[in-house]
Symmetry: C2
Subunit: 321 residues, 2 copies
């Protein structure tokens, strides 16, 4: 499977590095909107983004490694006119619109697109689907963390007097315990998580005011138990430069006579590295489904497990079933 990477931020770089773990993936090129000379890859050739159309016959799957806010809503429908494409669109509230737009484009051009590949949406979506179907009468919970939320870190950085910041989302241990005890209480994001901030203030900044602005920020911190720690840039760089993440999907279900509990957990050394690995696995699936004649826009909901695996046929049954 010949893969192109469109965009070379965190996800694009990790996809390039991790591709060597997928023996059936051949890297064709990295396509960038930056100056080609400024992009140093691990060895994959770099081309200007506008040249991608000349690779129409050389790329089986194009991974669009762009941002969900501005890039993907435009890029994915556009590139689906000429390529089989995969993205990691992660804006849940715009998902139906995104799928619809990409589906129209890919159906018209006779390509296959898979959107929202990653771990949430993605792997977590898959687990939520199967958990609900096996235990129809029950309650599901999604916990995020412990891990770095880049959106929340950026929100802190926009506050006046803040030089740099890193925000960790943590599951509340007592909320995890409540779910694991089998209870089916109503919970919301605020009662399930705490927010832990590490902030580098500019010289002379009003730290009390920064802390107040963080803790009362609507949509990000308001309503959460939030702790703010002021540290030096050196300390931030030394202890908080990684992007670890994790999370849990759980379901407590009541059968006719008994209760059952399902739990999925991931613990990631690096959020973008694991996400890129999920994207590579789903790229493999996407290309197989394309070869079987599937067209339009699909998600992880449409992909049978066998399409993700290297093994096929009876080898797969022997190894996994």
């Amino acid at each position: 499977m010949r893969l192109g990477i469109y965009g070379y931020g965190n996800l694009g770089r990790f996809a390039e590095a991790n591709a060597k773990l997928f023996e059936d993936v051949e890297l064709v090129g990295v396509f960038t909107r930056r100056n080609v000379k400024d992009v140093k890859t691990l060895g994959t050739p770099v081309y200007p983004a506008e040249d991608v159309l000349s690779f129409k016959d050389k790329i089986d799957v194009l991974f669009i490694a762009g941002g969900s806010a501005n890039d993907l809503p435009v890029m994915t429908p556009q590139l689906a006119k000429d390529f089989n494409v995969i993205d990691s669109f992660d804006n849940h509230s715009m998902m139906v619109e995104h799928v619809s737009a990409v589906n129209e484009s890919a159906k018209q051009s006779g390509h296959l697109a898979l959107v929202a590949a990653g771990w949430d949406p993605g792997v977590f979506s898959l687990e939520r689907m199967i958990f609900d179907s096996f235990l129809p009468n029950g309650k599901s919970y999604t916990f995020w963390g412990r891990g770095v939320s880049q959106g929340h870190s950026n929100a802190i950085r926009r506050i006046e007097g803040v030089k740099d910041a890193r925000q960790y989302t943590n599951p509340r241990p007592e909320a995890l315990e409540t779910v694991r005890s089998g209870k089916m209480e109503d919970m919301n994001a605020q009662s399930m998580h705490t927010r832990e901030c590490y902030v580098v203030a500019e010289d002379g900044a009003d730290k009390t005011e920064i802390e107040r602005k963080i803790k009362t920020m609507p949509g990000y911190f308001e309503g959460y138990e939030t702790t703010v720690n002021f540290i030096s840039q050196e300390e931030l760089d030394k202890n908080h430069s990684g992007l670890p993440h994790g999370g849990f999907v759980m379901r407590n279900g009541q059968g006719n006579s008994f209760t059952h509990r399902l739990e999925f957990a991931l613990n990631l050394g690096s959020n973008p590295e694991f996400t890129s690995s999920v994207i590579l696995a789903y790229s493999r699936a996407l290309f197989r489904l394309y070869k079987e004649g599937v067209r339009g826009c699909i998600t992880v909901a449409d992909v049978a497990p066998k399409y993700l695996c290297r093994e096929e046929g009876m080898d797969l049954i022997h190894k996994y079933i």
Copy 2:
């Protein structure tokens, strides 16, 4: 979806009871090899097994609730000649043969069969497949328990002087810890589990000899850390009459630069009740795939998550992705 239940042991009974949680499932009948008058259902009509052929046009999916040792290798290929069938065949070492035999029969008759639905094989198979595909460079572990192993309980009951017995398989906490710490050590079933036996001895039986025979039984207990507790029939009936089970699938993976850990856990109040629920969800998927034109024998590897869910189309995307 009109469901027939062929066999009325533990699994058949739980499938009948749990079907009310699946609003799209209509129970047509229970088919039994026993005397029809001796089979008391929760309300589903009971018919002799040999009458099942007269229901060819009244049943969309037939659940064959038989044993893997003797029933299913014969029944599933046989009944796939006239029905879409689902079973919970769980003999891993005979899986390829079973799939091949059922596939030939179902392909010839133009039906669809789904075999090995349950939690292992079944849900665990699914998790092992996706874990391996997301983290190609790594090591997977399957732990069983804490739960009752009916095979091991029966093996103890066959020892002279044993009146009744119940065996629990337990994951070793230190083995779970080793995997959760990120290590990728080689482990085997013996180093991952302990076996805990509750035995009712007949009056005057040689308990020392019974304990020796249990602990040295090849293929069942030899090599395991095994504890044997002699108790009264009353105590066994009071404290060990349920069939709880559980287990874990875990994978530690090494990406290009970081390590990642995936874990799936289930905790079941009743092994057969949950298994029946998984079978009902896969029966729904089986019938949908049949209506889409799929024929032959499939397994959980072939079923995309969307086929398991009640929701469809954009409702499904909105809810889960």
